[in-house]
Symmetry: C2
Subunit: 302 residues, 2 copies
């Protein structure tokens, strides 16, 4: 069997499938991320449950990750602010005697949506999530952008909306796009849950759209996808997807030419099709198709 594991900032999802049918989940569990020791125990128990034999594991993890094959820290989480997780080796979480392919959580989601979801058949895809954090994963010419590093676009500088004086929540920058437009940033700006914006709903969507428009335009200018899959908790706010699309179109303003696929904005920026399973399905896809390193050597290298 093969396994896919998504270690997200909030929860971990583990799934197993037969190698021939990676998108048909035989069993799936999820649990809160917690501390790395407890997470590793639950992951390893799941992989060995009822005597099943899982040899190849795809992992889509929050980061930043060290993916550099020449680095002694390869396969580890680096500068995270998540308590206890900086320096964690994903290979150690998986346990010895297995093959592992590691990508960022959003790269995994891009792979999942590209293989089985809203971007199937498209060779150049970006997956953008706006939730607890803001992240971007990309596939260019069919290959994930995941060589020695992976995109870290949550920290993009953005222009402020003129009506927004919220200082931002990013510990590094204050008002980068994650600092101004992530779910926690919205909740702090409006002093309430993003599910209960009430009378401020229209203004909140307007301000948020201005930041997402800049983010999407920057993804378009830099990674040149043919489609953007836009997901995450913030996109569950009514009118948010429509607002983000319109803001991206205003932001680009025809600069890429009238024939560019981004001008068909409803077909260009789409919602994910795999719900909460984009990442874990991407991880399973990698488990079948990825280039593997042995967990033993990765854990020892660190």
């Amino acid at each position: 069997m093969i396994a896919g594991i998504e270690t997200g900032g909030t929860k971990i999802i583990c799934a197993v499938a037969e190698e021939a049918t990676p998108s048909r989940l035989v069993e799936v569990i999820e649990f809160p991320t917690g501390a790395p020791d407890g997470a590793g125990e639950r992951i390893r128990a799941f992989l060995g449950e009822r005597g099943r034999r899982v040899d190849a594991v795809g992992v889509a993890s929050f980061g930043p990750l060290d993916l550099d094959p020449s680095s002694p820290g390869r396969g580890r989480i680096t500068a995270t602010t998540k308590p206890g997780w900086a320096g964690t080796s994903l290979a150690e979480l998986i346990g010895p005697h297995r093959s592992m392919t590691l990508v960022s959580d959003v790269t995994g989601a891009a792979i999942g949506e590209s293989a089985y979801g809203a971007a199937s058949g498209v060779s150049d895809v970006a997956y953008v999530t706006v939730g607890t954090g803001i992240g971007v994963g990309a596939i260019l010419s069919g290959t994930p952008v995941s060589g020695v590093g992976h995109p870290e676009m949550g920290h993009l500088p953005v222009r402020r909306h003129p009506d927004d004086d919220f200082p931002g929540v990013c510990p590094f920058h204050g008002d980068c796009v994650e600092g101004l437009a992530s779910g926690p940033a919205m909740a702090a700006r409006w002093s309430r849950s993003t599910r209960a914006l009430g009378a401020d709903h229209a203004r909140a969507v307007q301000i948020e759209s201005s930041y997402l428009g800049q983010l999407l335009a920057t993804v378009l200018y830099s990674l040149v996808p043919q489609r953007i899959v836009l997901g995450g908790g913030v996109l569950k706010i009514e009118g948010m997807l429509t607002g983000a699309r319109a803001a991206m179109r205003r932001e680009v303003n025809g600069a890429l030419g009238a024939g560019h696929p981004s001008t068909e904005v409803d077909a260009f920026v789409v919602a994910p099709a795999l719900g909460d399973h984009s990442g874990v399905l991407g991880a399973l896809h990698l488990a079948r198709n990825g280039a593997f390193a042995r967990t033993d050597s990765l854990a020892a290298a660190g």
Copy 2:
């Protein structure tokens, strides 16, 4: 023999070399870009001069370019504001019965600097030019980002420097990074050539650095290069490279971790090593190694 051609916004450079030694230029000419008809005549005359036989041609052209293999406009310049050039087929400029590989001018420069210059031996490279325009080319895991499209990062939204009220020169956006920080933008802001900033030199470098810092940080976050080659006319201003490096470091502010190669900013952001020939050498490298389409079929397709 093989040929490399850089069709820049200002001038065109053509070079021929033996296939075994693409970086040793046998003959090179350059002339002002002018109109496409005249440019095509000079290019075709050069390729056929003194009876030499040039079969494979690499082309690095200003854009935006249609590179999509499935597009009827493949191999053409699309939404340029350069008079006469919108819709131009590069294959027609080269002439029939030849093989052509086409990339954007800055992708060509990235390939040249990666193969023979300031980024040789580095698998993940971005080339950033700040001159008449602002452009970014990228190589990820050894492969140019040039599948169905190419980066168009001149249009990035940027935060204004607080002391800058210049409206910007971009016809699409006014104050995108090209509108505020290209050579023509600087010349218009200070009402003089960037070679004669005089008493405004220090302020000009400070304001320009703030924009280049955002540009470089965005390149870093999105394309995750291991090195950035930063060239173009604006970088010839004294103190500009140092200012841009410092601004990128302030902009990132440690968000990618203490071990990230970008923290060694002098080694991470470097000047080009090939002078004016980055693009044409990249085009020659492509002429030897690229995936070719026949000029006949490309010209006919449009």
